[in-house]
């Protein structure tokens, strides 16, 4: 069971949260002019790193706010928690 520190509510159990997957995927602005390759990359392709992943979490059974987490996908260690809109912090795995 992960213990996740919601930026607004503090440390809570994993079962209160939902994971929203990879963070910092930017929606292309030029939708009409975009190639199929660029659309496919945006919609479907994922980094899925073995190591540090920057991802979104939702405090679904709490304050219901979204935030970002840097987490190691092998140790599951949470290395940073930061708010939506903030750039991904450098972390030491």
């Amino acid at each position: 069971m992960l213990l996740i520190s919601c930026p607004w509510c503090g440390p809570r159990e994993e079962s209160e949260f939902q994971c929203g997957g990879e963070a910092h995927i930017v929606r292309p602005t030029d939708g009409a002019g975009l190639s199929d390759t660029a659309w496919g990359d945006y919609v479907f392709m994922r980094k899925n790193p073995k190591g540090v992943q920057y991802e979104r979490w939702h405090h679904a059974a709490g304050c219901r706010r979204w935030f970002n987490v840097a987490r190691h996908t092998v140790t599951h260690e949470i290395l940073a928690v930061y708010r939506m809109g903030e750039p991904p912090p450098e972390v030491e795995p």
Partner: protein, 382 residues
């Protein structure tokens, strides 16, 4: 030729390359031991009742191969066609499962709809009380479905491939590809370089790691999927029962253990272990469905890392690198496809083009939009 990954799919690929295409200068390179990945960790449920024509073609091809596999390999894979039931607990489940039943009939895939009383007759220990927390409104039954012995599948294919001249190299991890002018030349491994004009990669949860080495992207997320077994008990359950809605599936092994599959963890992981809340959820559902299992003790639980694609269908495909082929995205349900997957992948590698059965399962579908959406039939929510 090199096949990366000595799971059931990789070993089956090597076997069919040798047997059907006469290609025996093949090495299977496995970083651990053969069958130690998801092949040896899964709950071994086999069925072919998928919704789309493409999927029915692929999984039914596999099921037909299962039906003759022990004879073909001269190795008992203990394939047992005890039937697989998928339960409906609400009106939506009923509609979705009936629709899939009819689609199966159109594709020549056996599938029966059972009413609640027929379900009770078929599996008397299931709680079909109308006041149950998960009332059973009916079920589909694929009578040709069942289970097989996972280790035997890996060993049987390995022995068959080995006898035809394939080399199986264990404890040898692929760490990179040598690529020149857009074509593969071989693989770098922890035991040195192996030159090969064609390389097939079948590494399940590690697909993205290998694609990164080759320099292209995949639409795959790796998640833990868990299972657990009980202490052995007398025979009580002679079929396979699955419930999509409550994320639980159960059968009884020939040793008497109850084999229980859980849902996937929601976050990406390569840790080969899952979280306890998922196990708790599954056990809660199993005890509701089978009150008599309430006091059975569990012996072991474990996890495997599964490769989940956005449309819950596999990718069996050429890649942007010449001579490099990937077979991945089987996610939570690829054991059932092992013979068919190896069969079509061997064809794809040998001919440098897909067989008609796997043509739709190309990597390019995520750019062209021709997805094969199978979330309903994939059975494990993710």
């Amino acid at each position: 030729m090199v096949i990366v990954g000595g799971g059931g799919h990789g070993l089956a690929t090597a076997y069919y390359l040798a047997k059907l295409h006469g290609l025996t200068n093949v090495a299977v390179v496995e970083k651990g031991w053969i069958g130690g990945g998801n092949t040896g960790r899964n709950t071994t449920i086999i069925r072919s009742n998928y919704l789309n024509d493409e999927s029915a073609g692929l999984y039914e091809h596999a099921l037909k191969l299962w039906e003759g596999l022990s004879q073909d390999l001269n190795y008992n894979v203990m394939f047992s066609q005890r039937g697989v039931m998928n339960l409906a607990h609400n009106e939506h489940d009923v509609r979705e499962l009936k629709r899939r039943c009819y689609a199966n009939h159109l594709n020549g895939v056996d599938s029966d709809w059972l009413s609640t009383s027929q379900v009770k007759e078929f599996c008397p220990i299931l709680n079909c009380d109308p006041d149950a927390r998960y009332p059973v409104l009916g079920a589909t039954l694929q009578r040709r479905g069942g289970v097989a012995r996972h280790d035997a599948v890996a060993w049987g294919y390995a022995r068959g491939a080995d006898r035809r001249g394939v080399d199986i190299i264990q404890n040898c991890e692929v760490t990179g590809f040598r690529i020149h002018d857009g074509a593969v030349q071989g693989v770098e491994t922890t035991k040195g370089f192996i030159g090969a004009a064609k390389v097939g990669v079948v590494v399940a949860g590690h697909a993205t790691v290998l694609a990164d080495m080759a320099g292209f992207r995949l639409p795959i997320d790796s998640h833990p999927l868990q299972a657990l077994v009980s202490e052995p008990i007398k025979p009580v359950l002679d079929t396979v029962v699955m419930s999509n809605a409550v994320h639980a599936y159960i059968s009884q092994s020939d040793k008497g253990e109850l084999v229980i599959g859980a849902g996937a963890d929601l976050y990406n992981s390569y840790a080969q272990r899952g979280s306890l809340p998922i196990v708790e959820e599954t056990i809660r559902a199993i005890v509701e469905l089978f009150p008599m299992f309430g006091r059975v003790r569990m012996l072991r639980s474990w996890g495997g890392i599964v490769d989940i694609a956005p449309d819950a269908s596999p990718i069996i495909s050429k890649t942007p690198v010449g001579g490099l082929y990937f077979n991945c995205g089987w996610g939570t349900g690829g054991f059932k496809a092992t013979p068919g997957s190896g069969w079509v992948f061997a064809h794809t590698i040998a001919r440098d083009e897909p067989h008609a059965i796997n043509a739709a399962f190309k990597l390019d579908r995520f750019y062209s939009g021709e997805l094969v959406a199978e979330h309903g039939a994939a059975a494990v929510a993710h």
